[in-house]
């Protein structure tokens, strides 16, 4: 089990104990799974619509209307040639750093930010979207399971890849017909093959690391799909139609400025210190603890895996006492024994504190809860430790709570994130030289994969190369100013 998975497992153990005892808090018991049967196209549309509403919450969307409209336009151009014309196809960009694409029944299709970054042209993008459209049009989801599990499971699966994969034949069919769709829409069917090639190299780079999910974590293996797609592309009858973007360079212009890797808008760690530029706060976790930041909460687990502390958004409002009262009323019903409560002031902010024990599996886990009012929101910091640890971590919990404060201007200035920039190469330049000159954060192999180049490529004058550059959080998405990188 990888370190990340061990960490997650330990976190889940403690979280589930806390959830049991602190019911009504941020973590709730999973609802019983509901069977969803996709018998008809109407079922596809209904289930797809319901599930699509949860995708944004689970994964988030890239907030760039122009780029979103562009991806939607490419997808709709392909969908004109697809069967099941009754489906209202929609194409959106999920805020996920790994290259990924997936489709929900009924025509809801998603590509990730990481996929857009890995693609090198509209042809590549069209190949991927064509593939996903075929999954929808051929109703592969219905054929795959007949019965699929309930919505939360689907969304979990989309985020984590636990749902059954499409079958081998379905993947092959989606590749084959997806390339045909691309060709009919005036895109080079080689686009899918090019993208799969980049992906294959990416997988090799990540060998031993976490696998890429969904679109790629499939059978047949990427290498086989790449070879088939490439050979098929030479056969497809197609005629080039002008793209929506102006050639590969136009595509790169569209995607320039996308965040590379994990963005800072949902908070970043600087060592053990967590900074959230959008919610305007910072707090510091104990130095040796393993930290995790998710869409729902940020937290840390002790090195011995016997304590965890997390911060989550509890409610909107100004009154931490009221938020605490509401929470504790629910939590008491589920086994939380409250020993002590008191109002406190932390760095000038109103707060409310409760101590007690959560009863889980016959054991009493020490729990410390603090509600803090900040910028119109109430945050809850929850510290839980194992019964054996007792109150050993009380000091650490309080230290974390006391470190919560608004971001200073200096701290805000220190937040960095990586953004995709397109830089022109100099004649005869190599990738290491270009990276050195521009301050590219990707290593040579990553840069080669992301650009569909060999690592030892000799670049031509003006050749556009994708690089990842560290930039201050809040910098312009489009960097007109970056032309200076050429010099």
């Amino acid at each position: 089990m990888s370190r990340a998975r061990r960490l997650r497992a330990a976190a889940l153990l403690l979280l589930s104990a806390c959830a049991l005892a602190c019911g009504g808090g941020g973590t709730t018991q999973a609802a019983p799974r509901r069977e969803v049967i996709l018998r008809t196209e109407a079922d596809d549309e209904r289930v797809g619509e319901q599930t699509a509403m949860q995708v944004g919450g689970a994964m988030g969307f890239v907030e760039d209307a122009a780029l979103g409209a562009y991806v939607d336009a490419v997808g709709k151009r392909l969908a004109r040639y697809a069967p099941r014309g009754g489906f209202q196809y929609q194409f959106k960009i999920v805020d996920q750093d790994v290259p990924n694409a997936f489709a929900l029944p009924g025509g809801y299709i998603y590509v990730s930010r990481g996929l857009l970054i890995m693609a090198n042209s509209e042809d590549d993008l069209a190949g991927v979207l064509g593939h996903e459209i075929v999954h929808v049009a051929a109703r592969h989801a219905a054929a795959r399971q007949g019965v699929i599990q309930g919505m939360p499971g689907i969304v979990q699966a989309l985020a984590g890849g636990t749902i059954a994969e499409y079958g081998r034949d379905q993947e092959r069919e989606a590749d084959r017909l997806g390339q045909g769709l691309a060709g009919l829409a005036g895109y080079d069917p080689q686009g899918l093959a090019n993208f799969l090639t980049s992906l294959e190299f990416q997988e090799r780079l990540q060998l031993g690391g976490s696998r890429l999910p969904r679109f790629f974590d499939s059978h047949p293996a990427t290498a086989e799909r790449t070879a088939s797609a490439s050979s098929r592309a030479r056969m497809v009858a197609w005629q080039r139609e002008p793209g929506i973007a102006n050639g590969p360079a136009g595509y790169l212009e569209k995607i320039e400025g996308l965040v590379v890797g994990t963005g800072a808008s949902e908070g970043v760690f600087q060592g053990s210190r967590f900074l959230h530029p959008e919610l305007d706060f910072t707090l510091r976790f104990p130095p040796d603890w393993d930290t995790q930041n998710t869409r729902e909460a940020v937290g840390a687990i002790s090195p011995q895996r016997d304590a965890m502390i997390s911060l989550a958004h509890e409610a909107m409002g100004q009154d931490p006492r009221r938020a605490a009262s509401d929470f504790l009323a629910r939590a008491r019903e589920q086994g939380l024994r409250v020993d002590r409560t008191q109002p406190v002031v932390l760095a000038g902010m109103n707060a409310f504190r409760a101590e007690g024990h959560a009863l889980a599996s016959g054991a009493a886990l020490p729990v410390e809860l603090t509600w803090i009012a900040h910028r119109g929101a109430i945050y809850r910091i929850t510290g839980v430790s194992s019964p054996r640890a007792g109150t050993r971590y009380s000091g650490a919990f309080r230290s974390v709570v006391r470190s919560f404060r608004p971001l200073s201007a200096e701290a805000r200035q220190s937040i960095r994130e990586s953004r995709l920039r397109i830089v022109p190469a100099r004649a005869g330049e190599t990738l290491p030289e270009l990276s050195e000159r521009t301050g590219n954060l990707w290593n040579v192999q990553e840069t080669a994969v992301m650009n569909g180049l060999y690592a030892n490529a000799i670049l031509a004058s003006g050749q556009r190369v994708k690089v990842a550059l560290p930039e201050r959080y809040g910098a312009l998405r489009r960097s007109e100013a970056y032309a200076s990188s050429e010099h």
Partner: protein
């Protein structure tokens, strides 16, 4: 206009359950009715687009009743007494083609076929000419295209469409459909086909061992002038060295003794009932020089 292009479109819609006087959810009802009709046809193992008028009427009546909620979907194929209304090929059609005919509307089938043809490399003008050919019902077209699509890796499938586009009647369309199915069946069992070739009066395929595979749709083939012409064409393709060049005539049905004798005298081997051959046999009942 394609007479068979829309399953169920010919029935009287005002009586359709759920449709109000103003038309109501007219399109929705129509789509649902057509879907019911395709499901019934699939369950009965018949072609929802066939031009057999009594069968179409029966399908319409049953679909109407199911749509109205007064009748269940049939769950089993009809007994043998019903088979005369079936156009040939219903039973032999590939499972996937059967699912496509059941699950997709005629318009969707046309779109799917267009994509598949593009993937095979059929250029747009020929593609559209083939799709617009009124001799082909959606069923003919879909089964044919699906069989060719399954021959991925076989060179020059375009040659088949170049020949098939010339069909001028439903019967000729069915010939080509069956030829494509026979080729697919041969490829499945013999491990693939190298390429498709035009021969005088039709199409053939070259197997990977060099054998010329000539598919022929016939319930029972007699030694007729047409058969003799076909044999002469194949013999010309084989050239002078008949020991080196092999040809195999693959029939969907049986062959008369005289036809067999003539073909074998010309150095050709004959396979009968190729669509029904058990998996242990490459392409049907064996006779003559084996490939």
């Amino acid at each position: 206009m394609r007479p068979q292009s829309s399953a169920g479109a010919g029935v009287l819609l005002p009586g359709l359950p759920g449709a109000d006087a103003a038309g109501g959810d007219f399109l929705g009802q129509l789509v649902a009715f057509q879907a019911r009709k395709r499901e019934i046809a699939a369950a009965l193992g018949v072609d929802p687009y066939c031009d057999n008028a009594p069968l179409q009427e029966a399908l319409d009546r049953h679909a109407w009743a199911v749509q109205a909620g007064g009748a269940p979907l049939p769950s089993a194929a009809p007994d043998a007494s019903a088979t005369p209304v079936l156009s040939d090929g219903g039973a032999a059609r590939s499972e996937r083609a059967g699912e496509m005919l059941r699950d997709y509307s005629a318009e969707d089938l046309e779109r799917l076929n267009r994509i598949e043809l593009a993937v095979m490399g059929v250029p747009e003008p020929l593609r559209e000419q083939f799709i617009a050919n009124p001799a082909y019902s959606p069923s003919h077209e879909t089964v044919l295209v699906e069989a060719l699509a399954a021959l991925e890796g076989t060179e020059d499938r375009v040659a088949f469409i170049e020949a098939a586009v010339a069909a001028q009647s439903g019967d000729e369309a069915q010939d080509y459909q069956r030829m494509a199915e026979l080729m697919r069946r041969y490829a499945d069992r013999a491990g693939g086909l190298e390429r498709i070739e035009r021969v005088e009066g039709g199409v053939a395929a070259r197997a990977q061992d060099g054998t010329l595979v000539v598919p022929v749709r016939a319930d029972h083939a007699l030694w007729t002038q047409r058969m003799a012409s076909l044999a002469e064409s194949v013999a010309r393709e084989m050239g002078g060295d008949r020991d080196a060049a092999r040809a195999r005539i693959v029939f969907s049905g049986s062959v008369s003794p005289m036809a067999r004798e003539h073909l074998e005298n010309l150095g050709m081997s004959v396979a009968e009932d190729a669509m029904d051959a058990p998996p242990s046999e490459p392409d049907g009942a064996e006779s003559g020089a084996s490939p």
